[in-house]
């Protein structure tokens, strides 16, 4: 595999980055933008990520219009916040009726506009408007979209086809797009945006991943889903390939893990051009360094000196769980940080202590079986919530009930509403509630989906909860039982999983804020894949340790010292033995 250099720069005017948080998507997108701009192209870099750290990278405030990046000639950047967009949209719809209708009525309207659909469509609206705004677009040679991590990106991207089909097929006038009626005039814009995205001579999808098994799997999944949507022009950038430079045992193991994962690269990624970017153990903090990274010039190491910090091990958290006995444990975090691994570890350790546990996942990438291994463990039961399957169940259930009383037109009507994106949220939530209900006598450990999805799920829960007191429908007992339990700190525990790096920590902080808004409190932070406690002489990994210190301290302070770390391990943490390595003891003995 070749190193990514200027010979491989994509040639389409639109570049679209996708990749899980922590794979270095923002670093790659900004470095590439800087380099292309320095070569005379006029470049606009757009962030649609709610957790964007573009402002930190460039050290300047960005707006929703192009701002010239200091220290460059041809680079402009722009920030779109989907949550802000949704809130603007809500105000645009409700605002005119303030003072004209009673407050209680306005609240009802606002509630309906607070759902998952509104945020998504409002975000897409922003994005599509920009993509088709020739007044802005025509000023630039290249437009780079640095989107949110894959889960969110997929939704955003899946929307164009989903929504345009929906708008076409909607014959009755009222639908799940009801709350978004104000956006219907935009449909031409959506259509054009979809055309741009799926035109191979206009758009390249840049899949950023790492030379590790799970990130590669995630990239393959994203690649496949986006290919299906019509984005066929894709390029794979494998970020962080470590070139051997010492005989350090840990470094060798690190390289070996990388090599092995690349040997088993998922087949979906094989047809595309693949390039690597060298491992850099620190944040790319200057324009010069970012340029050097993108060209074949050598990346100079930077000396970072940080004082040491405490590195509590994961067993502290397990001891707390054994003592407090929460019934429901969530491991939350962005994709790629190791939520599944942490959930599996907790399940295994509680089971070993004689506690009966049920381990489940709602992550569309569901590699729980992969992490937990094929072995059956005493006291552990395992399940998976597959969003697609759940939607199919829900549809079948509703249509079966509906066909008892409906005529053909009535059924067509129902099918139309079922085709909306809301359906998935509902179906998944119901399945999740059933899991909780069915496993009352076990501790339930849930490896949730990536942030965007997770929060939509919880938002949906909240909306249902309020609706329940009024609705005449048959509400499953499991659903109405669940929400108060989620908010009961003695019943539910939330552990946020992150990595000791800039983006994952920033994203985790945002995730905690969002959870707090939803009324859930986080009681543990888990920093996964830390090198700090490992004995290594590799110059690169020593620098990585130093760079980690800042983020460990950050987590220590945010979590109020309620945090634990998991060391990087030489072999993937699969099965009972593999998971036990995460304790950290084995590593220290090396």
């Amino acid at each position: 595999m070749e190193r990514f250099t200027r010979d491989h720069f994509p040639e389409t005017p639109f570049l679209f980055f996708t990749g899980k948080g922590g794979v270095g998507k923002t670093s790659v997108a900004s470095s590439l933008s800087i380099t292309m701009a320095s070569e005379g192209k006029k470049v606009l870099l757009i962030s649609t990520d709610p957790a964007s750290n573009l402002q930190d990278i460039f050290g300047q405030t960005l707006h929703n219009t192009p701002t010239k990046v200091n220290g460059t000639n041809n680079l402009y950047a722009l920030n779109l916040d989907p949550e802000q967009a949704a809130s603007n949209y809500k105000e645009q719809m409700v605002g005119p009726y303030r003072g004209k209708l009673p407050d209680v009525v306005l609240q009802n309207m606002e509630e309906q506009l607070s759902g998952a659909c509104t945020v998504e469509i409002a975000a897409f609206n922003e994005f599509a408007t920009l993509l088709t705004n020739t007044a802005i677009i025509d000023q630039f040679d290249i437009i780079v979209f640095d989107t949110a991590p894959t889960g969110h990106t997929l939704r955003l991207l899946q929307l164009p086809s989903a929504w345009s089909t929906f708008l076409d097929e909607n014959t009755t006038g009222t639908s799940c797009l009801g709350p978004l009626k104000g956006l219907e005039p935009q449909r031409e814009i959506y259509k054009e945006a979809v055309e741009r995205l799926t035109n191979a001579s206009q758009t390249t999808l840049m899949l950023v991943t790492r030379p590790e098994t799970n990130p590669l799997k995630e990239a393959a999944r994203a690649s496949h889903e986006l290919y299906e949507i019509g984005m066929k022009n894709q390029m794979v950038l494998i970020n962080g390939l470590l070139q051997g430079e010492s005989h350090d045992e840990i470094e060798q193991a690190f390289i070996q893990r990388q090599t092995k994962s690349l040997e088993n690269i998922p087949k979906e990624l094989i047809p595309f051009n693949k390039y690597y970017l060298p491992f850099v153990p620190y944040s790319l903090s200057s324009i010069e360094r970012m340029q050097a990274w993108m060209t074949d010039s050598e990346v100079k190491h930077e000396k970072i000196i940080e004082e040491g910090t405490t590195i509590p091990e994961i067993e502290e958290m397990i001891a707390d769980y054994i003592q407090r006995k929460p019934k429901l444990i969530f491991t939350m975090g962005k994709g790629g940080v190791g939520k599944t691994t942490v959930a599996s570890y907790i399940a295994l350790r509680l089971a070993e202590e004689g506690i009966r546990v049920h381990l489940t996942t709602t992550d569309p990438a569901a590699h729980l079986k992969w992490t937990f291994g094929e072995e059956a463990v005493e006291n552990v039961t395992v399940s998976r919530i597959d969003p697609k399957e759940e939607v199919a169940y829900y549809e079948a259930e509703v249509l079966a009930k509906a066909s008892e009383t409906m005529n053909e037109e009535g059924l067509a009507f129902v099918k139309e509403d079922l085709a909306s994106p809301c359906t998935e949220e509902i179906a998944v939530f119901r399945a999740f509630a059933n899991v909780v209900e069915e496993h009352q006598d076990e501790v339930i450990i849930i490896d949730t989906a990536p942030t965007g999805h997770t929060l939509l799920l919880l938002d949906a829960t909240e909306a249902y909860h309020r609706e329940i007191s009024r609705s005449q429908g048959d509400i499953p007992v499991s659903v109405s039982n669940l929400l108060p339990r989620l908010r009961d700190a003695s019943y539910t525990s939330v552990a946020i999983v992150t990595l000791p790096e800039a983006t994952p920590v920033v994203e985790a902080i945002r995730l905690e804020e969002d959870l707090q808004r939803a009324g859930l409190s986080v009681d543990w932070w888990v920093v996964n894949q830390t090198f700090t406690s490992i004995n290594t002489t590799s110059p690169t990994l020593v620098q990585k340790q130093q760079a980690e210190t800042k983020w460990l301290k950050e987590v220590e302070s945010i979590s109020n010292n309620q945090f634990v770390t998991i060391p990087w391990v030489k072999t993937p943490p699969v099965g009972t033995f593999g998971l036990h390595q995460l304790k950290g003891v084995n590593i220290n003995e090396n």
Partner: protein, 119 residues
């Protein structure tokens, strides 16, 4: 011919499927209204989310909301006169207003749609 107007609370969709669960009452209403329309009658539903201006324009609805809050919805008007509030009209009432038979109101499907379908 009577004109039927129903004012409803904010809902994601007219079948209520986007709510917490499947609501047969909303489904019944959806297809009754559809059958009424197919028979050429004037039957309209106004949803607080998509048609808020209707709630402002109708002084009586506005006054009802101000005094009784959301509980007054759904509110049904026939020829501009408030007939019922807080619940939907019965099929018998629709029969009375429309002149259609109950069979016509709740027509069974001629062809049953496949549950798998293309939805």
């Amino acid at each position: 011919m009577k004109k039927i107007e129903i004012y409803e609370q904010a809902m994601c969709c007219s079948t209520g499927l986007c709510g917490p669960s499947f609501n047969p009452e909303l489904l019944r209403l959806s297809f009754v209204i559809n059958n009424l329309k197919n028979a050429g009658l004037v039957a309209e539903r106004f949803n607080l989310t998509s048609d808020p201006h209707r709630f402002v324009e109708n002084e009586e609805v506005k006054a009802l909301l101000t005094s009784g809050g959301m509980d007054v919805l759904p509110a049904t008007f026939v020829d501009g006169k408030l007939i019922c509030k807080g619940h939907y009209p019965t099929n018998a009432q629709f029969v009375e207003w429309s002149g259609l038979s109950e069979e016509e109101l709740v027509k069974k499907p001629k062809v049953r749609l496949s549950l798998k379908g293309d939805a």
